[in-house]
């Protein structure tokens, strides 16, 4: 391999080198990892081997991992100095997303628990 060019040390971790091979391989690795995580997600959702109540949490973790793969290998979020602004904006976006989702689900679940008929009765009505 003649890939040991001098600029190898000038590339931030995660950033593809400036060659056709290196850039393509970044997308290929990303595609492979994303396909693998997708396959694991579908397998986890359909297998009977795992503890039922934990499956939903596991699926969410797998989804977050796959989003990370997409960010690094497809969108090329890196630790390089050019990317500081992108990373900070992403961090703020993630904060807002977590606030909106966790806050809504938390509060609405409490409201649902404190109001209306108990779940057992609603379920009876839903079966007809």
């Amino acid at each position: 391999m003649t890939d040991h060019e001098p600029d190898a040390l000038n590339v931030a971790p995660g950033a593809p080198h400036d060659s056709l091979y290196s850039e393509t391989i970044s997308y290929v690795i990303g595609l492979g990892l994303a396909l693998l995580l997708t396959a694991i997600s579908f397998w986890v959702a359909s297998t009977g081997l795992l503890w039922g109540p934990g499956i939903a949490v596991g699926l969410v973790v797998l989804a977050i991992a796959q989003m990370g793969i997409h960010l690094v290998f497809f969108l090329h979020i890196t630790s390089g100095p050019d990317n500081t602004n992108n990373v900070l904006a992403l961090a703020f976006g993630v904060l807002i997303v977590l606030l909106v989702m966790i806050g809504t689900i938390w509060i609405m679940a409490h409201l649902a628990a404190n109001m209306g008929p108990p779940p057992a009765i609603t379920n009876l009505q839903m079966q007809h």
């Binding site: 959702a45 699926l59 703020f92 976006g93 909106v100």
Partner: protein, 214 residues
């Protein structure tokens, strides 16, 4: 390469910058500022989707005696949709690699493949929507179905917009060549398309896989 002053860019990474982040050298070049601004738009779009996800999660059990998630969703269709969108994200990246090297045939070919895979995704989604509505599980049936069609439909609208954008960009590259402003637009398109795939990961996990757990 062209005689321009801007280094080429892939994704959000500026390809060959000499900037060490240690000094003030005045405003950044457009090939950094434009993707950054578009990245801010994409993040705010993701915040919009987070509100739709929160709505869906709050209403998923409000079925009003109508069909529930387990009766509606077909995992095989979702798997095909997922693979199609993932592959289209991959080919979109290959189109960007070709565009960086001003390779006309390669760019156009990979953009066509990207668009066709997006079309496969969209047709399957439309098929799913029409068959659900035909079964009487339309958006007016229950709060759960309203939230479902809003969330997944909003993503579908984004994919449609992305497909139109791919078509426009192919025409622009064809007519005007790899001018710097055209390549920047193409870069924004690739960021948009990759972000759609990220949102789809959340949708197929939260809506379809968790929704069809036994």
């Amino acid at each position: 390469m062209t005689a321009g002053t801007e280094a080429p860019t892939v994704g959000l990474t500026h390809g060959a910058s000499e900037d060490t982040g240690l000094g003030n050298r005045g405003p950044q070049s457009k090939s950094i500022v434009v993707p950054y601004g578009f990245w801010l738009f994409v993040l705010s779009d993701i915040v919009l989707f987070s509100a739709l996800f929160a709505t869906y999660a709050s209403l998923v059990h409000a079925t009003d005696g109508g069909p529930v998630t387990n009766q509606l969703f077909d995992r095989r269709l979702v798997a095909i949709e997922t693979v199609a969108l993932l592959l289209s994200s991959f080919t979109c990246g290959l189109a960007m690699i070709a565009a960086k090297r001003h390779h006309m045939t390669g760019t156009q070919a990979w953009l066509v493949v990207t668009g066709l895979l997006g079309l496969v995704f969209l047709s399957i989604e439309l098929y799913e929507f029409t068959s659900m509505i035909a079964e009487g599980a339309g958006p007016q049936r229950s709060a759960f179905l309203s939230a479902f069609f809003t969330l997944v439909g909003c993503h579908g609208v984004h994919v449609t917009a992305g497909l139109l954008w791919i078509g426009t960009m192919m025409a622009q590259i064809w007519a005007k060549g790899f001018r710097q402003d055209i390549v920047r637009r193409l870069l924004c398109l690739s960021i948009f398309w990759h972000a759609l795939d990220i949102i789809w990961v959340a949708i197929f996990t939260i809506v379809y896989l968790i929704g069809t757990l036994p």
